[in-house]
Structures are given as structure tokens and as C-alpha cells.
Symmetry: C2
Subunit: 355 residues, 2 copies
Amino acid sequence: MSGDGLRPDLPGSVCPAPIHDRKRIVLGHGSGGKLTSELVQNIFLSVFHNDVLDRLDDQAVFEIGSVRLAFTTDSFVVTPLFFPGGDIGKLAIHGTVNDLAMSGARPLYISAAFILEEGLELEELQRVVSSMRAASDGAGVQLVTGDTKVVERGKGDKLFITTTGIGVIERPLQISADQARPGDKIILSGTIGDHGMAIMSTREGLEFEGEIRSDTAPLNGLVNAMLKASSEVHVMRDPTRGGLATTLNEIASRSKIGITVEQQRIPVHEAVQGACEILGIDPLYVANEGKLVAFVASADAERVLDSMRNQIVGVEARIIGQAVAEHPGKVLMKTDIGGTRILDTMFGEQLPRIC
Amino acid sequence: MSGDGLRPDLPGSVCPAPIHDRKRIVLGHGSGGKLTSELVQNIFLSVFHNDVLDRLDDQAVFEIGSVRLAFTTDSFVVTPLFFPGGDIGKLAIHGTVNDLAMSGARPLYISAAFILEEGLELEELQRVVSSMRAASDGAGVQLVTGDTKVVERGKGDKLFITTTGIGVIERPLQISADQARPGDKIILSGTIGDHGMAIMSTREGLEFEGEIRSDTAPLNGLVNAMLKASSEVHVMRDPTRGGLATTLNEIASRSKIGITVEQQRIPVHEAVQGACEILGIDPLYVANEGKLVAFVASADAERVLDSMRNQIVGVEARIIGQAVAEHPGKVLMKTDIGGTRILDTMFGEQLPRIC
């Protein structure tokens, strides 16, 4: 993998962070990196804070009566609507299914709210809707309620979709970004960077030798296999916006542990690698839509790994590093050339509207 | 009330429906009227159909384990963001709370997904978020999870919010638009047209003698009082987009009953009435955001009415008509001048981006 297209002090961006007056929204606020985190903390959490929200996981977990539920929402604003390996509809279903699965929940029901721009071709909408149906069937969830709004031409961008999901947590688990412990092995389910680079190469009209396809996929089957294999899965996250590096930083910070990973163990498709090098982008900061990273008790790691490799979306799963007691909150990577690099959270916007 | 600004064959619009090639989205697809219904039927239901979705209520109802839940989603694209009586944030919380309450559910948890346009002032966002917190507290719900996306300048319109809610149905009720029965009394909780005309007068910079304020309000307390008073509440709906006339048509059609209402029993604030007359709009087709219409067994109607009048949002509640066995699917209104008029569903767009 590359990893050297970026200065270590400025991850996710090859030029200085955009200067803004901090009084207005900039694209970087949607990156999933530091600016997003600032926005969430200063504007949303400071006002809304409560026990459930403050956990800062990608899903809320609560009990109603005797039932333990997970609940998650995401807006999708990806452009273009269709790209190699998927489309906005498939992404919306998989994204919500995966956020539920990352808590150990079995995803059950989905809602979808559509914001349509005047002038959108009905045929395009039909293709997206059919794709959502297929993705729902594939993931074993039902779309049970929805909404449609229309905005004037120039006040939207063809189609935005917000999906929200409910799942049930049937095992007595406490999987959360703050549950990693020193000694945990870090498992990555497959290659990184595929989704983001599929969008980028479509958007820029770039041609690469091997076609780059989004990895969008439902991960609930994979998670189910992992949880059958071990009750010592402490953290699961799908590294979407901000990529693997940002996700690892969140976990290090929330669990107050250090993380060490080995660059050579992190798989990147050759075409993705090539595209990243040309564009000066580090795949560690590129969004994935069908991958997960898990922190598992060392004794169970091989068993979990075996269970993953029996699943189509987990055949390339591998251990990429571990949680350590040293350097809490920091992620260190042993590079291919033998050095050690600090992996920081992405600052601003690398790839706008990637999901 | 006016009611004569419109030709009866073309409700909700004073000029012919816009000619479109039926291959593209037009503003009317977001009206809540016939075009919305066509879109939902042809594009969404034909693909997604399943037992829960096909009920076509404003919320899905299902069981998980021993718990019966309601689940609903809505995108809010109202412009302007702030208007007399409310703002997009308040509207988003109340809208979702009310859709849950209309099934007899006790609203519990809300998610919020924000699509921000580059350039939005953080101060505006802060005001909206604070308003959402106050509205959540007022309605007794918790905002527990969320998402933020940013789109480039000119690809959105400041701020869109999608709220999704979960509520629990604790009483053995089956409240749905298909449950009205001949003989049921129709109760309306208060004046109509306030929300839509508050938006319109702000947007157009119109000045009316009495200030027109949105009626946005949470209705879960009102519903709770009604359901304590009677187990024979058959249908509840909040007449939002498309107004009271469209809501009554949906119920007539779904329950296969006829409806008769009396114009003189339907209250309209004087300033709203005046604004409607100037703009050639019929308040029967104007959106409300803090009103409900209920179909209640005749024997229980007065008891339900009494329970409503003890609530701030129900002091003006009254019986406006009844369900009949004749003319199934049709809504007839006795007009102030003694005639009878068919109230049809709104066809296209009367007031775009009203919620």
C-alpha cells in the first residue's frame, strides 16, 4: 500500500486544511474526520446529550419492555447515484444494516425517506428502488415505512435517501467502541479503500487497469458467524467515512488503549493502490462499505477468524494488529519499510459525498 | 371559511395541473395529494410491498418479541427554516411524535439525520438544534442517534432533517385508516390551515391583520387522554400535507365508507381565512402540524370530546361529521350556504415545501 502520499501531520489531505471562519458549514464537516467530530460535539452532543446518545456508537441501544433493540440512521448523498458495484439505494440499505450489525443486533426493519429533486427521471428512481428491494432481501430485512419529499430544481441533487433501522440484540453482549482491552487482537475483514476509490474513479472519469468496484455488502451474516464463534468480541465497527485510520483512532480514544497495526497485513487491491497513488490519497483514510474491524480477546481470535473465512465477505479476514496498554489514544503503524508512523484522524474532507 | 376559491374538480390548485411528461419528478409529487399517491403506488409500493408497508398508515406497526412497536420516518425540507410559531427542528420532532401517536403508540426514541448545505451558518444550525431539544423535552421523547452529511453549495437548501421515531403500543388497539365504520363520529381537534398559511405568509412577505402562527405541537398527550376515555377510537390521523380534505379522502377510501362533514363546524382562524381568500387557497387543503382527526364509535364520541377539551391542544375539539354506509370512498361537505360539495383529494402541488 502507499501511505506516503500524505504528510503524517496532515492525514487525509495533501494540501493544508481549508481556512474557514468557523461560522459556517464547510464540506469537511461531512468528512467523518476531525471537523465532523467537532461539529457533533459542539453543536449536537452539547445540546442533545443523554446516556444513550453519549455512547457515540453508530447505533443507539436501549430496552423496551423485555426487548433489547439497536436503532440507527444515516442520510445518503453519494454522487454519482450509480457506480461500479452499487448505487445509492444498495448503499443505503447496507449502510443501515451494517450499523445495526456492529452492535451485535439482528437487523429487522428499515424505513426510507426520499428527498427528490424536481426533474429527476422516474426511471432512475425506479432503478434505485429495485436495487433497495434486492439489497433488503439479500440482508433479510423488510422496508416497512417511508416518506417522499420533493424540492425545486437546484435545491437538491437528484436524490438523497435517509434509511433508519431497527434490530434486536438477542445475545447478552456489550459491544461498543469503549470496550477494547489491551491484548485484544484486531481483525480486519478484507481489503480497504474499494468503495471510496470506486466513487472517485467514476466521478473523475479515471480508467484503471483493474476495474475498481465498491465493496458495498451486508455484514450481518458475517457478524452472526463471529458471535456464534465467540462471546469475547469487544468492539465492531465498519470503517466508512474517514476510513480504517479514523475508525481505529475513535476506538483508541474511546477505549483509552493504544493500537499498533502492521501496514503489510492491511490488504489493498492493486487497482485501488494504483488509483490512490495517482490521486495522492491514502487508502487508510478511504471509505469502505462492506468491511468491518473487530477487537477480539486474544484467546478467541483464531476461532473468530476461522468463522469469518467461511463467509463470502470474510474470506480475506486477517489479524492486522493489537490493542496495547501503552500510548493510550494513539494508533501506531509499522510501515512496509520498517519504520513506525502515527496514524491520526482525518482532519477535513478527502472525498466529499462518498456515501 | 372560503372553499370557493377552487373549482371542485381541481381541488388544491387554481390553475390546471402542470403538464408533465410523467417521466420526471415534478413538485406535485411532494404535495401529499394524488400525484404523491401515484408515485408511492407505482414506484415504491409495487416494489417494496409487504404486509406492514401495504397498510399505508403513517407509521409501521409490528411486534418484536412480546413488544408491539410503531416506527415512522419523515424528511423535513420546509422553507424558510424559521417561521411564526416554529422552525424546521420543532416541526421535525413534532411531526414524528405525532405520526407515532396516531397509531396509539407512546413515542419514546427519535433519530435525526441532517443534510447540511455548505455555507449554512452554524448559528442557524444551533438555533434549530436547541429548538429540537426543547421540542423533544416537551413531548417526552429522547433523541438517541443521528447522522450529518454535507453537500456542496447549490446542491441542497441550507438544511434538511429526517427524523425517525419508535414508540410502544401498550393498549390492545388496532387504530388504522381502514378501521372507520359507518356511524362513527368524526372529531377534529381544532382550527385548520394555520401551519400552511404561516409558512405561506412568511415566504411571500404577506402581512395579515392577525398574525398567523404555525400550530406545530406534540399530540401524544392529547391522544393518551382520548385513549383513556375510550377503547373505540378507530382511526386517528394528523392532516398534514394535503390538509383535512385529503386525509378524509384517504380514510374514506381505505375504510370503504362514505364521509359527510359540515363546513360550518370546521373552525378556521379569521386571519387564516383572510389569507386563504387573498391567495385563492382552500384551507381544507392546507397543511396542519398540531391537529388530529379521529373516527370514534358514536356512543363514545362525547366522552372522547370531553377528554380532549381538557388538553391545551384540544380545547377547540368538536364533531365535524360522521362516517356513513352510503357513497363509499367519497367525502361530501354541506357548505355554509346550504349546498353539498364533493371534497376530492388534492391533485398536485398547492404549497411546495410546507414541511
